[in-house]
Structure formats: structure tokens, C-alpha cells
């Protein structure tokens, strides 16, 4: 059973919920940037939350199914159609052999997820089917999809009925102001108090340098505390003796960069805080030139937000079973 790519879209990759246990050799987790949309799509088609699907950026695929399948499109709305007829998003849809799925540019949000009953059955590498493009590992030939690619599909354990959907309040639309919750800290002693306050008070604009490795933001200048640089740190005031970078951490050189699923795992720029895990999904839906604000939270508030996200997914799974 295969899915044939007719139009690959702007940047489409096979992603599951990530590759773990290798960060200490410099290997980021990869995996879906918006793990919430990815998980909901899988639940709608009867897969495990972490099954491999397609992550499509700004503009998705046109693709032909060579057998009957159940699909769901979640995340950014790319106005999907089946043989030219509009189909709903955040809902399971039956596809018949030979039918063609097509998508357009997203109006809100940056990434759309295509889940298919049975998942995409590419060969796992180092415990994951996720694509890590920088070194060409995993996914389909380690790269984003191209016209003519044929993706193997897994056997679905059962056929989820058509029209399975989730409550409206669990459907995300990515409209309005985006606030990313962060726990400040790490090496934020490198910033002046004024600069730290300004970081949290300002609007930050997503620059065109925003991809699966990280999102670079434009805003006020970062001010560092003057010091004689410690041994081994390097000459620039933004430099520290090289540290590991958490996923979601904000590193500052001239501009802040929030590290994402394909993060560089460490380096010599000061990090000043970390976007909490549920809000990394929202980061994935931020579009170039959009503005975000960073909101400082405590570890307990971060754990509450994580629990809330977990409970939502548990509730959806139970209601769909």
C-alpha cells in the first residue's frame, strides 16, 4: 500500500514523535514540531499518538492513494480537497483507492499534519521514522519529499469510522496574539536586568530564518553584562563555555533564536530561558513576520500547562476509543 506524491509542497517531511537517547552525540529528537496536532490526527484515524505522518509547511502535498485509507488533516488549515471536493479538517475522512488529496496555502498557522490509518511505514533509523534533514537521516531517504516519491503505508489495526471529530474547543486556529510561556534562567545572568525585562515586555517578530532547527526573532537589541570573559568562553560578551541547549531554549547572539525539533544540541551562545513543552507546538505554527510575546512562568505553572495538555489528549483518546 503506497501514497504517491504528485506535488511535494514547500517542505514536507515524514515525522513521528521523535528520536530519543542520542542527544549526547549531537542528535536532536526531530519529530513533529507541533506534537499536539500530530497526536490528534493519529487519534482520529485510530493510530497510536506517535505514529509517523506527514508534516507539511505553509503549502502541503498533492498525493494519490493506491488503496482505501482513513486520513485526518490537523494543524494549519490548508483547505484540503479530495478529487476536487473540499473535505473537513480535524476529522477523519475515508479515501478510496485512486483518489487524489490536494492542499493549498495555509491562511493561519504554518504546519499541517496528514495522519493516515496504519501510519507511514518507512524504515525506522535509531528508533524513529522522523526525518532529520541536516544529515539526511530517517524519514523518506533522509530528505523532504519530491514529486514521484512513493511512501509505504502500514497496515491499520482497525478502520476508524469516517467523521470522527473532536470538540470545537480542542481545535486550534492560530488566530490572534501568540504568547509563548517560558521559564527564564539557564545562562540569563549574561543579560542586564533591563534587557531581561525588555525581552519579556517586547513584541518579537518571526524572521524568514525560521525552520525546524530554530526560529530567529527580530526585536530590541540584547544587552549583555560587561565582564572579563572566563577561560575558554570565547571573546564575545554573548559567548559562554559551550553548554547543552534544551529543546525550546532561547539562545541569544545578536537576536534570539528559539531552538526547535531539529535543534543544534549545544554551543557557545548564552541561553536565557526555555519555551515550555506544550507551547513548542504553538511556536511551530508561528508564521514569518508574525509577532509573539514571551511570558515568564514558574516551573509549577509550566507543569500545570503540561498536565492540561496531557489531560486533553487523554480525554480525546478516551472519547474516540
Amino acid at each position: 500500500m503506497t501514497l504517491t506524491i504528485l506535488e511535494p509542497g514547500l517542505s514536507t517531511t515524514v515525522q513521528d514523535d521523535g528520536r530519543f537517547g542520542h542527544y549526547h552525540i549531537g542528535m536532536p529528537p526531530s519529530g513533529a514540531m507541533d506534537l499536539y496536532s500530530h497526536a490528534v490526527g493519529n487519534l482520529l484515524v485510530g493510530n497510536d499518538e506517535g505514529a509517523a505522518g506527514l508534516e507539511m509547511t505553509y503549502n502541503g502535498v498533492d498525493a494519490r492513494f493506491d488503496e482505501d485509507a482513513t486520513i485526518a488533516l490537523t494543524g494549519a488549515d490548508m483547505s484540503p480537497e479530495l478529487d476536487g471536493e473540499p473535505i473537513p479538517t480535524w476529522e477523519s475522512v475515508d479515501v478510496e483507492e485512486g483518489q487524489v488529496l490536494s492542499t493549498s496555502f495555509s491562511a493561519n498557522g504554518a504546519r499541517s499534519y496528514l495522519a493516515i490509518g496504519g501510519g507511514i511505514d518507512v524504515e525506522p533509523r535509531m528508533g524513529s521514522r522522523s526525518t532529520y534533514e541536516l544529515i539526511g537521516l530517517g524519514g523518506h531517504e533522509g530528505r523532504s519529499l519530491e514529486e514521484g516519491d512513493e511512501l509505504p503505508l502500514g497496515e491499520s489495526g482497525w478502520n476508524a469510522p469516517e467523521g470522527r471529530s473532536i470538540p470545537d474547543e480542542d481545535v486550534l486556529t492560530y488566530e490572534g496574539e501568540k504568547r509563548l510561556k517560558v521559564i527564564m534562567g539557564l545562562c540569563d545572568y549574561r543579560l542586564t536586568e533591563e534587557s531581561k525585562a525588555e525581552f519579556l515586555d517586547s513584541e518579537w517578530k518571526v524572521t524568514p530564518e525560521a525552520d525546524r532547527i530554530g526560529y530567529r526573532f527580530d526585536g530590541p537589541d540584547i544587552e549583555f553584562v560587561e565582564r572579563e570573559q572566563p577561560f575558554g568562553a570565547g571573546a564575545d560578551l554573548s559567548n559562554v563555555v559551550d553548554v547543552g541547549y534544551p529543546i525550546g531554549s532561547i539562545q541569544v547572539s545578536e537576536q534570539p533564536i528559539v531552538l526547535a525539533s531539529d535543534a543544534v544540541t549545544g554551543g557557545g551562545y548564552a541561553t536565557v530561558g526555555t519555551v515550555i513543552s506544550p507551547d513548542r507546538a504553538l511556536l511551530a505554527q508561528c508564521r514569518t513576520h508574525e509577532s509573539v510575546r514571551f511570558e515568564s512562568v514558574t516551573i509549577d505553572e509550566a507543569l500545570d500547562a503540561r498536565r492540561e495538555r496531557r489531560e486533553t489528549l487523554d480525554r480525546l483518546r478516551n472519547s474516540l476509543e
Binding site: 542527544y23 572566563p230 575558554g232 571573546a235 559567548n239 559551550d242 547543552g244 544540541t265 554551543g267 507543569l303
Partner: protein
């Protein structure tokens, strides 16, 4: 006068920082030292050995370390308490670990990185010199040749791996007053040959693949540190060869040996030459020159 012991540094109280809801970052010191690095190495090795539920990633770094975990399985406060206990109980003078001592051939001043160095002169502190000449001068060496002899003259410890898969930070195993220190380029290069030997701050890094970069370039190695397709025998278990705690013995080679090794690599038959030691920090601290000599003797 040059010191002949590794000076010891009393570490400040570690700072325990939440990296979001699912990471803890622990800075042992703001400055690089073997004290800080060996402590990071020892704590992370012990933590790995405990095999706790909910621990996802354990990452030693130069003078810090990081743990990724599942807070639904182990609470951040509980993890931090465990890390504090480890910090208090580990005495790095008594701590020992199995280390590989690895022969690492380098063609210094090779034609490929030389071409890159010349191509990006406008981004460098000193457009009139090569990276080797500049680094030799600011570190007080007579010429590039004496500088190369010093870089290859004592082994280097892999104190951290990261940025991208297989990139190893290597810190030379000599007293601080003999450490080479160089700044990064003023503006990063858009290109660096794969397998280039770079240097930034107080660290050598072999570039695993071709790409952008800002480190001073001294040479090129014929050997691979990353093999994504796992075709070379050393890469059967992992796509990355270096491990934190490895000891690299950079060895100056000529073009003939470089070409010979490349042929073996390309034929898929090359294997790294290395031996094993039980690394003993205290012996190293007391007599680095003598201990380093004994270390490199174990290379096959």
C-alpha cells in the same frame, strides 16, 4: 615559567536551572577547567548507571551538563535532589573511568582548508596572515610549525559532543598556561570542508561534515567521525565515533599518509587505531606530561 602540574580549581556551588518543564541544566562553573569537566563527566556517568525511569537524555558538556526527563514520571524537584546528592558524593580525584585513547591523524596546513582560509580572509581578524600564522603569533609561538608541534604535542580530551552529530569539543590535556586560545572569525564563513580541524576558544573541533563555521582552521583529517550509512567497521553500533571522555592524540601526517588513509576510508576498510585505559584524574593532575606519555603508549 611553565607549570608542570594541572592546577586545581575550586568549583562554585552548581546552579540548577529548569530548561522548560522537561530539562534540567546544571552549570558547574562559568570557566572551563578539568575540574568542572571531569565532575560533569562523573555525575552524568553515575546518573546513567542508575538507569532511573523517566530519564530521556543525559548530556555532559564542557563545564556543565543537562538532563532531559519526563516530568510525568520523575518530578523536576526529585531529579534535582538526586543530582545534588551526586554532586556531593562524587570526588573526582577518586573517580576513574574507561577511556579510549585514539590515534587521530591530521594533515596540518592542508591545501583544502588553506583554500577556504584564503577565500574568507575578509571575515578574519588578520587578513594578512593564515589562520595558523595568526594563531601561532597570538599564542606566542615563533612560527606556524612550532604551533603545530604544540597542538600535536599533547593529547586532547573529548569534553563534549554536540551542535550537530559527531562534533567533538577537544580540550588539550596541558596546564592552563600552555593552553592555546584563539577567537572565532569576526563573521562566520559560509563554507568549511568536511573533516577540517577547527579551533575556537580553548577547543579543537573536527568538523564532521561540510558546512558553515567560524573556528580557525589548522588542517584536515583523513578519518571520519560520522558515518550515517554505517558502512565503516567502527560505526556498526553508532553513526558517531567519538564519545565524551575519549582521548584524541592528534598526529601530524604527510600528504602520502593522508592519501593512503583516504583510500582505505573510501574502500570501506578503514578502522580507527585506539587502545583502552582506566583514566585516573589524580595521576593526570599530578604529572600531566608523564601521564600523557603513558596514555599514548596504549594506542595499538
Amino acid at each position: 615559567m611553565e607549570t608542570d602540574r594541572i592546577e586545581r580549581y575550586a568549583l562554585p556551588s552548581p546552579s540548577y536551572e529548569h530548561g522548560g518543564d522537561d530539562h534540567v541544566f546544571v552549570e558547574l562553573d562559568q570557566a572551563m577547567s578539568f575540574d568542572a569537566n571531569f565532575k560533569a563527566m562523573a555525575i552524568t556517568q553515575e546518573l546513567r548507571g542508575q538507569d532511573l525511569d523517566g530519564i530521556v537524555e543525559v548530556c555532559p558538556a564542557n563545564a556543565s551538563y543537562m538532563v532531559r526527563f519526563d516530568p510525568d514520571v520523575i518530578a523536576p524537584s526529585e531529579l534535582i535532589e538526586r543530582l545534588k546528592t551526586l554532586d556531593e558524593t562524587i570526588d573526582i580525584e577518586e573517580y576513574k573511568w574507561e577511556a579510549r585513547v585514539i590515534d587521530f591523524p591530521v594533515l596540518y596546513d592542508d591545501p583544502w582548508t588553506h583554500e577556504t582560509v584564503m577565500q574568507f580572509r575578509d571575515r578574519h581578524q588578520d587578513p594578512e596572515s593564515t589562520d595558523l600564522e595568526y594563531s601561532a603569533r597570538i599564542n606566542g609561538f615563533e612560527d606556524a610549525d612550532a604551533f603545530i608541534e604544540a597542538h600535536a604535542g599533547a593529547p586532547h580530551m573529548v569534553t563534549m559532543i554536540g551542535f550537530v552529530p559527531g562534533l567533538a569539543w577537544c580540550h588539550q590535556m596541558v596546564p592552563r598556561d600552555q593552553q592555546i586560545e584563539v577567537p572565532k572569525y569576526l563573521r562566520p564563513r559560509t563554507d568549511t570542508p568536511g573533516r577540517a580541524i577547527g579551533y575556537g576558544g580553548a577547543f579543537t573541533t573536527p568538523y564532521p561534515v561540510q558546512g558553515a563555521g567560524g573556528y580557525q582552521l589548522f588542517g584536515r583529517t583523513p578519518v571520519e567521525v560520522l558515518d550515517i550509512d554505517q558502512e565503516l567497521p567502527d560505526f556498526q553500533d553508532s553513526i558517531v565515533f567519538p564519545k565524551p571522555g575519549d582521548i584524541f592524540d592528534f598526529r601530524r601526517i604527510d600528504r602520502d599518509e593522508y592519501d593512503r588513509i583516504r583510500e582505505e576510508v573510501e574502500a570501506g576498510t578503514f578502522t580507527h587505531t585506539y587502545g583502552h585505559v582506566e583514566f585516573e584524574p589524580e595521576e593526570f593532575f599530578d604529572d600531566p606530561a608523564g601521564y600523557n606519555e603513558r596514555l599514548v603508549e596504549v594506542i595499538g
